[in-house]
Symmetry: C3
Subunit: 148 residues, 3 copies
C-alpha cells in the first residue's frame, strides 16, 4: 500500500514497486511504472521520483520504439566497461564490477514531470531498466510522487 | 503560458521552453532557461526540474567560462561513442546511435535548487545542452518549478 | 543555519554542507550528509536534493561495503578519460579536463527519497563523492529538503 498525504490540493505519496526478474540487458519499463501508480491520474502538476535501490542495475531515459536500440545499448556498455586485470573487487564474478560502473554511468534515479495526470515524457522517450547482472533477480524501485 | 498554482506560500508551475536549433556540439543555455522563467524571482526556496524531451540530446552541468571546454567535450564524447560494425540500429545515419548513447551517459533531466529568487548554481557551473545530432532542430524542455 | 519554512505539515529547508578536503578518488559521504541534516528525522515522506556546486567533482550512488570498489572506480574512470593531444583546454593541469568529463559522466546532483525520517536508500547504496582533482580542497553541497 502506498503511504499518502493530502492537504487542500498538495499531495505526497510513496509506493514501493517490485519489478519482476529480467535477463541481462536493457528493458523498457514505462508501462510497469505507470501500471503500479494509478494515482498519477490525480495529479494535475507534479513530479515522480524513482530510486532504483540497487548498485548493479540502472534507470535511464531513451528511445522507446526500436528494440534494436536496447540491444545496441547492451553492446555499447559492455564495450565501455571491459574487465581489466588491475581491478581488485574480483570475487563476485566478471559481470559484477562492470555492473557497478554501468550503474554510475547511467544513474539509478530519475525525476519525471507529471502533467494533467500523466507522465510528460517526450514522444520517443521511455524508461529503461538496465539489468547489468546475469542473475539480478527482482528489482525494487521506490517511487515518490508529489504535486497538486 | 505556464500553468500555475499557489496556495498560501506553496507554489507549483510548469512551462514548456522551446530552444532554438543549434549546431552539433555543447552549448551553454543557463541564460535561455532563466530568461524563459521570470517567475524564478518569486521563489525564496525551491527546485527547478528540467526534462529535455528528446533522446538524441542531453542536459548536464559543467564549466561556464572557457568555450574550449565545450569543444573538448564534443571531442571527448565523440571518441567515447564511435560507430561499431556490430550495431543494429543503423538506418538513421552514423550520428544517431552515438547520440542515443550520449543522451544516456550525460542524462536529459536535472533538478536545480532555487534560493532567494535565483538558481543556486556554483560559481563555475552552467547548464549544457548537448546537441548530438547534425540536424537536431529546435529542442523542447519541460520546466517544473515548485517551492515557497 | 538552514533556512526553513513549514505550513501545516508541508516543509521546505535549505542547508549548505561544507565537506572537508579529500584526496583524489571516490569517497563514501552518506554519514557526512546525514550528520549535517538532523532535520531529516522530522520528515515522514519527502525528498532530499543535493547539488555539488563544482565542475571537477561528482556525486553518485554505488556500493557502500567494499572499499576496493571505490579504488576500482578511480582506476576505471581514469582509463575512461585519458588525456589526448587534441584537447584545447590544457592550462590547468592534466587532471583538470578529465575531471570535467568525469563530473558530467557521473553527475553532480542527486534526489533521494526520505521515508520515516531517514534516507530510503537500498541496503548496499551509499553516496559517493568523486574527488577528481589532485588538490580539490573543501567542496560545497547545497542540500534542499522538502516533504511532510
Amino acid at each position: 500500500m502506498p503511504s499518502r498525504y493530502a492537504d487542500n490540493r498538495f499531495m505526497w505519496q510513496q509506493t514501493l514497486i517490485q519489478l519482476k526478474a529480467r535477463p541481462r540487458g536493457f528493458h523498457l519499463i514505462t508501462r510497469d511504472i505507470e501500471a503500479a501508480l494509478p494515482e498519477l491520474s490525480e495529479y494535475q502538476t507534479g513530479l515522480l521520483h524513482l530510486l532504483l535501490q540497487h548498485t548493479s542495475a540502472s534507470l535511464s531515459l531513451n528511445e522507446n520504439a526500436d528494440p534494436a536500440v536496447r540491444r545496441d545499448f547492451e553492446r555499447f556498455f559492455n564495450r565501455l566497461t571491459p574487465w581489466h586485470s588491475e581491478y581488485e573487487h574480483a570475487d563476485e564474478g566478471p559481470d559484477d564490477l562492470p555492473a557497478h560502473f554501468k550503474a554510475s554511468l547511467l544513474g539509478c534515479q530519475l525525476s519525471l514531470p507529471i502533467q494533467n495526470g500523466r507522465l510528460a515524457l517526450g514522444t520517443w522517450q521511455g524508461i529503461y531498466l538496465g539489468e547489468h547482472r546475469e542473475q539480478g533477480g527482482s528489482r525494487r524501485i521506490l517511487a515518490t510522487l508529489h504535486g497538486i
